[in-house]
Structures are given as structure tokens and as C-alpha cells.
């Protein structure tokens, strides 16, 4: 009897602590995003009153109107979309074939290759970038979309290969053999047998590639030289470093920069959590 009451008390205490942590977490992790979204609809005067709740007259769509009509924002947005989509497609293609090869075939020097791919994640990017700049320069790819895309691939390929190889390894090789006996060639085996089973892993890799490319600042800051290739991360950091900052417009740009990643996140959220943790749990 005594024990049961005790248990209930513990449960109540835990519930109270949990809600407290949730409240603090929401304030710390979520509120800042809500705040900039909210301020993107406020006039400069309204923001500068230093009040949290603005009167209705303090709200405007002008910030969005101006970044679309006066600035080059649409162009940078399209640049970002173009670069991130290409990185995602190439990263998927290269890592699906590569991981399948590593998972299914006997390859000489397989172990060093896998270790090499894995340890590539630890190399300091600031060090790699010095020779990379010269590589890109001599390939005549400076300030070109494809130059940025190829360089950003080094940020995503190690994880993509590792993730997909892990997934493919869990799929029984009998399935491949059965499909081969039925006359399926390699591409058919991949598309009809392997990829449907490995779909969560593929989604995680696609999401990861897009988000990492979308958020990259380091590589773009070195290879992009003009507005032809400048991306949102470059522009948003320039905007908030200038002397006279129009915070309403900065907030609007920031909001539109984070929204695509949040939409994608909402789409893959469940699989992402499963996929990201599956690799570590397999051990």
C-alpha cells in the first residue's frame, strides 16, 4: 500500500519536472525562431520601440515586399535551391552505387577504402580548402555552380556512403540473388528490390545532403565571387554585418532561409530520427 502511494508520488513529481523541462526547452530552442518570424512582419519603428507586443499598426508585409522587389533575394534563393538540389542528386547517385558496391562485391582494399571514407569526416575543412581553391581554380570552376556543388560533395559523401552501406548490409543478399536469377540486371535489382527496402536510409541521405549544402557557408564564401553563385547563407551573414541594419528585412530573409529546411524536416522527421540512430544502435 505504502509502496503504491510512493509510486504515484514519483509519477506526479516526474510529470511536473518533465513539463518544466519542456517549458524551458520551448523557450530556449523554439522561441528564437518564432521571434524572428514575428519580427519579420513588424515595421522598423515597431521593432525599435523595444516592446515585445506591437500594436496592430506596427505590422506590415513591407519587409517581404522589399526583399523581393528591391534586393536580389529571389536570385540568391534560386542559387541556393539549384546548388542544394544538385548536391542532393549527385550525392544520392554516387553514394547509392558506391555503397552497394562496397556492401555486395569483393573489392581489393575494401577495408582501407571504408576507413578512408569514414575518417574523411574528421579532416579540418579549413585545411582542405586551401588546396581545393587551387584545384577549383585550375579546373576553371571558380564562381561556377558546379564548382561549389563538387566541393560541397566532400561534406556529405562520407556520411551518405556510411549510412547507406549500413542499410544495404542489413538486407539479405538472397534477395539480390533471387532477383538476378529472375533475370534482373544491376539497375533493376537496385530499383525494384534494394531501394524500396532501404527507403528510410535513402530519405535520410537526401535530407542530410540538402540541408548541409543549404547551410554551408565556408565553401561558398571561398568559391563564390559574384551574385551569380552567391547563396542565402552568404547574403544573410552580409546583411547582419552591415552598419545600418534593417532588422525587419533581415528577419524576413532569415525566415525564408530556414523555412525550406523546416518543411523538409517535417516531411522526413520520423524516418530521420530512426535513420540517424539506427547506425549507432546496430553495434
Amino acid at each position: 500500500m505504502n509502496l503504491k502511494l510512493n509510486k504515484k508520488q514519483i509519477k506526479t513529481r516526474n510529470t511536473i519536472i518533465a513539463y518544466l523541462v519542456i517549458l524551458l526547452s520551448l523557450c530556449f530552442f523554439i522561441l528564437p525562431m518564432v521571434w524572428i518570424c514575428y519580427c519579420s512582419f513588424r515595421t522598423q519603428e515597431s521593432i525599435f520601440t523595444g516592446k515585445i507586443l506591437a500594436p496592430l499598426a506596427g505590422f506590415t508585409l513591407n519587409n517581404y515586399y522589399r526583399i523581393f522587389s528591391v534586393t536580389d533575394f529571389p536570385r540568391y534563393f534560386l542559387n541556393s535551391i539549384k546548388i542544394s538540389s544538385l548536391v542532393t542528386i549527385i550525392s544520392l547517385a554516387v553514394s547509392i552505387f558506391g555503397a552497394y558496391g562496397l556492401s555486395r562485391y569483393t573489392i581489393k582494399g575494401k577495408k582501407p577504402i571504408i576507413i578512408g571514407i569514414f575518417s574523411a569526416q574528421m579532416f579540418p575543412q579549413v585545411l582542405l580548402l586551401i588546396p581545393l581553391f587551387l584545384v577549383i581554380f585550375s579546373l576553371n570552376l571558380m564562381d561556377k555552380t558546379i564548382g561549389i556543388v563538387l566541393t560541397q560533395l566532400i561534406l556529405v559523401l562520407p556520411f551518405s556512403m556510411w549510412m547507406l552501406k549500413g542499410y544495404f548490409d542489413t538486407i539479405p543478399i538472397d534477395l539480390d540473388n533471387a532477383a538476378e536469377i529472375d533475370g534482373g540486371n544491376l539497375l533493376q535489382r537496385l530499383i525494384y528490390v534494394i531501394l524500396p527496402i532501404a527507403e528510410p536510409g535513402v530519405m535520410v541521405v537526401a535530407f542530410y545532403s540538402f540541408v548541409v549544402s543549404w547551410g554551408d557557408y565556408l565553401i561558398v564564401s571561398v568559391i563564390s565571387q559574384s551574385q551569380n553563385t552567391a547563396t542565402l547563407t552568404l547574403i544573410i551573414s552580409r546583411l547582419s554585418a552591415s552598419l545600418l541594419i534593417r532588422w525587419g528585412q533581415v528577419c524576413a530573409v532569415a525566415t525564408l532561409t530556414i523555412i525550406p529546411t523546416l518543411i523538409l524536416f517535417a516531411l522526413v522527421q520520423k524516418r530521420l530520427i530512426k535513420g540517424l540512430t539506427a547506425g549507432a544502435l546496430k553495434e
Binding site: F28, R104, P124, V126, L127, G215, Y217
Partner: protein
């Protein structure tokens, strides 16, 4: 299956990694022994001169100390807060599925956007943090938090926590799901208290996940460039200078590619030592088992 196909399949990955990772790595180490500038094509081999210069360079030592300090503080705090968050996520209470689905949002948005959000919130006149402080009567401590030598470093730590703690929470939570309930039930019969439950059941159960998360984040935090570069640029008065930012400044502001590469090589050596120690510990752990 045709044996050669395996090689064809991995060739694209090998070529891309070779040209854009392996070659730059080797060449970066080579450049660290030269006086190469980003502005000239001619350069000479200077032996260990860059490394000698580094040994006398107070900013290098400061950056090294800051890098190690930042990585240690950030990863320890992330680990502890991540455990608290994971414990919370485990409670089955109304609203939890929604909370679970939005909490990782800060992890997916670009670092440049995160920095912009926090720079805006830290503004002395219009920033959210300072507006709140004024409203609760603490108007006298209002300032630009990234610009004050006393608080800039703490705010960099805050940025790292903001981005990664939810990831830790979700990852640890997922690992906790794999611990069978029967273990806790058995412990309850034996009269274990919550602390013993945590220490003897939960912690061993998520040990692998802790090791993976800590390793990933030590590498990530030590190599991270954009948080500090965009938030403070290493300032005020070098208070937040770390190695990646110093390498970037040397190569793209001073154009001293050779010197920058030598600092980058030292970073690589430090990370390699860390990984080797990690592998040895893991190997030992396997023997004990």
C-alpha cells in the same frame, strides 16, 4: 555476380573523394612546408619555418587553448543536457508527441541563420534578450552580448548548445527505447532507487550511443568554423579565437597559405590523436567484455 562490377560502382565515389578530399589533404600538408601565398604562384620550401613561427605566435596558442576549452565545455554540457532532455522525452505525458516532433528544428536550420537570430536577439537596443532584461528591471546589464569580452565566449557556447542539445536528446531517447522494460521491473523488485536505475541500467544501455555522439561532436565542434567566424570573427580582442577561424583568417585575409596550412596540419594531428585514443579505449572495452 560479375566481380568487376563492384569496382565500376565505387569508381565515381573514389574519384570525387580522391580529387576533392585525399589530394587536398596531402597537398595541404605539403603546402605547410612552403612559404606559399594565395596571391603568388611562385613559392619555396622553407622546411619547418612555419612550425617555428607557430611556436612563437601567441594568437596560435590562444586559439589552441580556446579550441580545446570550447570543445570540452560544449560537449560536456551537451552530454548532460542531452541526458536530461532524453529523460524528459521518455515520460509519457500529454503533448509529448508534438514536443518530440518539433524539438530538433534548431538542428536543421543553417548555422548562418542561427547566428543571425542570436545576433539580433543580443542587440543592445532592439534585441529580445535585452528587451526582457529591461522589462524585469535589469536594464543596467543590457549590452551587445557578442561584443563584450566577458560574455562573448559564453554566448558562443550557447549557440553550440542551441543547435545540438536536441539531437543528443533524441539520440539518447532512441537508445533508451532499446533497453528492455524487464530490466527496470527486476530492479524495482530488488528495491532499486531511480539513481541506481540510471547508473546501472540506463547508462550502460545507452553507452554505445553516448560514445558515438561524443565522438561526432568533438570532431564537429573542434572543426567548426562558421559559428565563431560569423558571430564574433574571433573577437572581441581575440577572446573567441579558435583554430579553424585563425586558419581561415591566415589563408583568406592574410593570404598566408603556407602558415595557414601548418596550423591546419596541427589541427589534423590533434584530431588523429583523439581518434587513436578513442579506438584504443574501444578495443580495450571489447577485451573486457
Amino acid at each position: 555476380m560479375d566481380k568487376r562490377k563492384g569496382y565500376y560502382l565505387i569508381i565515381p565515389a573514389i574519384i570525387i573523394m580522391g580529387i576533392f578530399t585525399l589530394y587536398p589533404l596531402v597537398d595541404g600538408i605539403r603546402v605547410s612546408f612552403t612559404d606559399k601565398s594565395m596571391l603568388r604562384t611562385v613559392y619555396n620550401y622553407v622546411g619547418l619555418d612555419n612550425y617555428r613561427q607557430m611556436a612563437r605566435d601567441p594568437i596560435f596558442w590562444l586559439s589552441l587553448r580556446n579550441s580545446i576549452k570550447l570543445t570540452t565545455i560544449v560537449v560536456v554540457l551537451q552530454l548532460l543536457l542531452g541526458l536530461v532532455l532524453a529523460w524528459t522525452l521518455k515520460q509519457e505525458i500529454p503533448g509529448m508527441p508534438f514536443f518530440k516532433s518539433i524539438i530538433m528544428a534548431s538542428w536543421v536550420i543553417p548555422v548562418a541563420a542561427t547566428v543571425t537570430i542570436f545576433k539580433f536577439m543580443a542587440q543592445p537596443d532592439v534585441g529580445f534578450i535585452n528587451v526582457i532584461l529591461r522589462n524585469i528591471g535589469l536594464g543596467n546589464i543590457v549590452k551587445y552580448w557578442f561584443g563584450d569580452p566577458k560574455t562573448a565566449f559564453s554566448f558562443i557556447v550557447l549557440l553550440h548548445l542551441w543547435r545540438n542539445v536536441p539531437f543528443y536528446g533524441i539520440a539518447f531517447f532512441a537508445a533508451m527505447q532499446t533497453i528492455p522494460d524487464s530490466l527496470y521491473e527486476a530492479a524495482e523488485i530488488d528495491g532499486a532507487n531511480p539513481w541506481q536505475n540510471f547508473w546501472y541500467i540506463t547508462l550502460p544501455g545507452i553507452k554505445n550511443m553516448i560514445i558515438v555522439m561524443v565522438t561526432i561532436h568533438v570532431l564537429w565542434t573542434f572543426n567548426n568554423f562558421d559559428f565563431i567566424y560569423l558571430a564574433t570573427g574571433g573577437g572581441p580582442i581575440n577572446r573567441t579565437d579558435v583554430l579553424p577561424v585563425y586558419v581561415y583568417r591566415q589563408s583568406w585575409v592574410n593570404y598566408a597559405a603556407g602558415y595557414a596550412a601548418s596550423i591546419g596540419t596541427i589541427m589534423l594531428i590533434i584530431l588523429s590523436i583523439y581518434l587513436i585514443i578513442y579506438l584504443i579505449i574501444q578495443e580495450k572495452g571489447e577485451y573486457i567484455r
